[in-house]
């Protein structure tokens, strides 16, 4: 006789998550590409064959290696100042990754705190907070970010601050909506009866149960942040030359578009692939974490 008391343990949270995440093949591919992106961002100085700002004056606008006139020393060719494109792209991954992380952390932590506050606050404070968010959302986000950068001055740091401010209302709305849905559930009431303080209720009792949609939002705003930072760089209002930021590189390449396709094509491709990978991952996260939002 088999032992009847064999307990079937509930799989760990991470295992369960991975089980659902793995089902979405696109998400797994996205995850691998994202990990590669992370690897490149961390080890760019070791991977890059050249210094990203070093100008080889004898090799201006040299085409990629496989094209006539190219050489394997500069695999993806060089730009108008003779800098190695591949090395610049590899270093560019660092800026994009940095932008994504900082923007998501700032926007999410600010947005979650304000959202929790709105969810627990008396009605008048809640109204003030939500109307303020409506005001921010009334402006097209890129325009508002541009104007904020105009106020703060065009640097990468200010661009990140501006993008974080513009993205933050989404977290506020999302958190508040989840809090309102959770607030009247029994476990919250019992926590209240036991005498949990307001702060404990907010951050320890309720917040963990609101995290799923917020994590999905974090993935999506990671890609938005990269796109917006590149757009600001492209418009000259983000990272400044000679920084090898992808958007800034595109701006510098603009005047050569009809003469040297590679200086325009590769930086954009780098942005596109990174953003697609992150969006794929976001879709997978949504399927795995939030069955309610699951795409049919």
């Amino acid at each position: 006789m088999a032992d009847a008391t064999v307990s079937v343990e509930r799989p760990g949270r991470l295992r369960e998550f991975w089980f659902y995440f793995r089902e979405n093949r696109g998400a797994v591919v996205g995850l691998w590409v994202f990990l590669a992106f992370l690897f490149v961002a961390v080890f760019a100085p070791l991977l890059a064959p050249h210094d990203p700002t070093l100008q080889y004056r004898d090799h201006l606008l040299q085409p990629p290696a496989w094209q006539e006139g190219g050489e394997w020393r500069f695999v993806l060719g060089t730009d108008a100042l003779g800098r190695d494109l591949l090395s610049r792209l590899l270093h560019g991954a660092r800026y994009s990754f940095f932008v994504g992380i900082v923007v998501v952390v700032v926007a999410a932590s600010g947005g979650i705190t304000v959202g929790l506050l709105a969810g627990f606050a008396p009605k008048w404070l809640d109204s003030i907070i939500m109307r303020t968010m409506d005001v921010i959302l009334a402006f097209p986000s890129l325009l508002l970010a541009l104007v904020l950068v105009a106020i703060l001055g065009p640097t990468l740091l200010n661009a990140m601050i501006a993008i974080a401010i513009v993205l933050q209302p989404h977290y506020v709305r999302l958190t508040r909506a989840s809090v309102l849905a959770e607030r009247h559930k029994d476990y919250v009431t019992s926590a209240k009866v036991v005498g949990a303080s307001r702060w404990r209720m907010m951050f320890v009792t309720v917040l963990p149960n609101c995290l799923a949609p917020i994590i999905v939002q974090a993935a999506l705003s990671f890609s938005t942040a990269i796109l917006d930072a590149a757009a600001l760089g492209f418009l000259g209002m983000g990272a400044q030359p000679p920084t090898p930021e992808w958007g800034t590189m595109l701006a510098e390449a603009r005047e050569f578009i009809l003469r040297a396709w590679w200086v325009v094509t590769f930086p954009g491709l780098a942005i596109l692939i990174t953003v697609i990978a992150i969006n794929l991952m976001g879709d997978g996260l949504r399927d795995a974490l939030d069955p309610k939002l699951k795409r049919s």
Partner: protein
């Protein structure tokens, strides 16, 4: 219904006040003294400084300054441009038709392609077409449109020589504005080839600006259709023996369109943001390029006024969508 309308209008007021507060604080938040910035490298004498300060009202208490600003806004007075010395309000509405024309074309492009694509994908769920379409939509959704614009210029203007690179119409044609819409005005002018030139100039900017809305609409239509197609009343309709096309297009599509309409409304903000990039790349003389140029030129009254007008436009569109939504869907109205 009236109550619903009134309640929506009431939420408009605080948001509007908030938007004016932001645009009001814009000039005052700028680092440095706006008058010194405006004077530029020439500098400014002490008397002139005091004169200008009185003219802009910077010497008075903030509350009074805001009051003056607000009453000015309500009268349509948004100040005058530092550069052109023309009223901001006038400049905005002179350039607005160009942006409107481009946005309408982009939206038509997105809806005309996105809606059928989403429907076909939903009907063929899981099949090759569906998967190919959703992958394409993902690419479109993730597209850095400023790069997309450059690629289009390389291929269609550079290699193929089919489309012009910038502007709204060839310089060979000249006629006065009637409606501000180049497509209509070129027809009205009666000049041979003018309409063709205007249309050709519109193609690339339309595609570039419409790409993200197209991807979003296709995705949204597909998921809305899938949801509706699994409802009981659809099964009933099928069981009654109605022709499949009737079930899809009459029974299902009607209800699936509701969330799609909302998304189209929400995309207007995206469109105006995208217009900044698209217009600056294609030298399209609209609001987006005007705002960007004004930021570069530090023409602050224009930035301030444009910011306010664009936000108000977005708010009006959102309000309209909200009301329309209530009209289509009685459930919302009651809630």
């Amino acid at each position: 219904m009236l109550k619903f309308l009134l309640s929506r209008l009431l939420t408009f007021v605080p948001t509007f006040i908030g938007v004016t507060l932001i645009s009001f604080s814009f000039i005052r938040l700028l680092p440095g003294d706006p008058i010194i910035v405006m004077a530029g490298e020439r500098g400014v004498s002490a008397e002139r400084y005091a004169e200008l300060q009185a003219q802009f009202g910077f010497d008075r208490p903030l509350v009074i300054q805001y009051w003056d600003y607000m009453t000015g806004v309500l009268r349509g007075d948004l100040g005058t441009s530092f550069v052109t010395k023309k009223p901001v309000f006038e400049e905005f509405f002179a350039l607005f038709p160009a942006t409107l024309e481009l946005s309408i074309c982009a939206m038509i492009f997105a809806v005309v392609l996105g809606l059928p694509a989403g429907i076909i994908a939903a009907i063929n769920r899981g099949k090759l077409f569906d998967r190919a379409l959703m992958s394409t939509a993902l690419v479109g959704y993730s597209m850095p449109i400023f790069w997309w614009a450059l690629l289009m210029i390389i291929v269609f203007s550079g290699w193929l020589g089919w489309t012009p690179v910038s502007g709204r119409i060839s310089l060979l044609f000249y006629f006065d504005d009637v409606t501000g819409f180049m497509l209509i005005d070129s027809l009205l002018s009666g000049q041979a080839g003018a309409f063709r030139s205007a249309a050709v100039h519109l193609i690339l900017p339309t595609i570039v600006l419409g790409t993200i809305p197209l991807a979003v609409i296709a995705r949204q239509t597909r998921s809305a259709m899938l949801e509706v197609l699994s409802e009981d009343y659809i099964r009933t309709a099928r069981a009654k023996g109605l022709p499949p096309n009737r079930v899809t297009f009459i029974h299902a599509l009607r209800n699936a369109l509701i969330p799609v309409v909302t998304v189209v409304g929400l995309l207007v903000g995206t469109l105006l943001g995208g217009a900044i990039l698209t217009e600056s790349i294609f030298s399209w003389p609209g609001i987006g390029k005007w705002m960007l140029d004004s930021i570069y030129r530090r023409d602050y009254p224009v930035v301030q006024g444009g910011l306010l007008l664009i936000a108000v436009m977005v708010m009006i569109v959102n309000l309209t969508v909200d009301v329309l939504y209530g009209l289509i869907n009685p459930k919302i109205r009651k809630a």
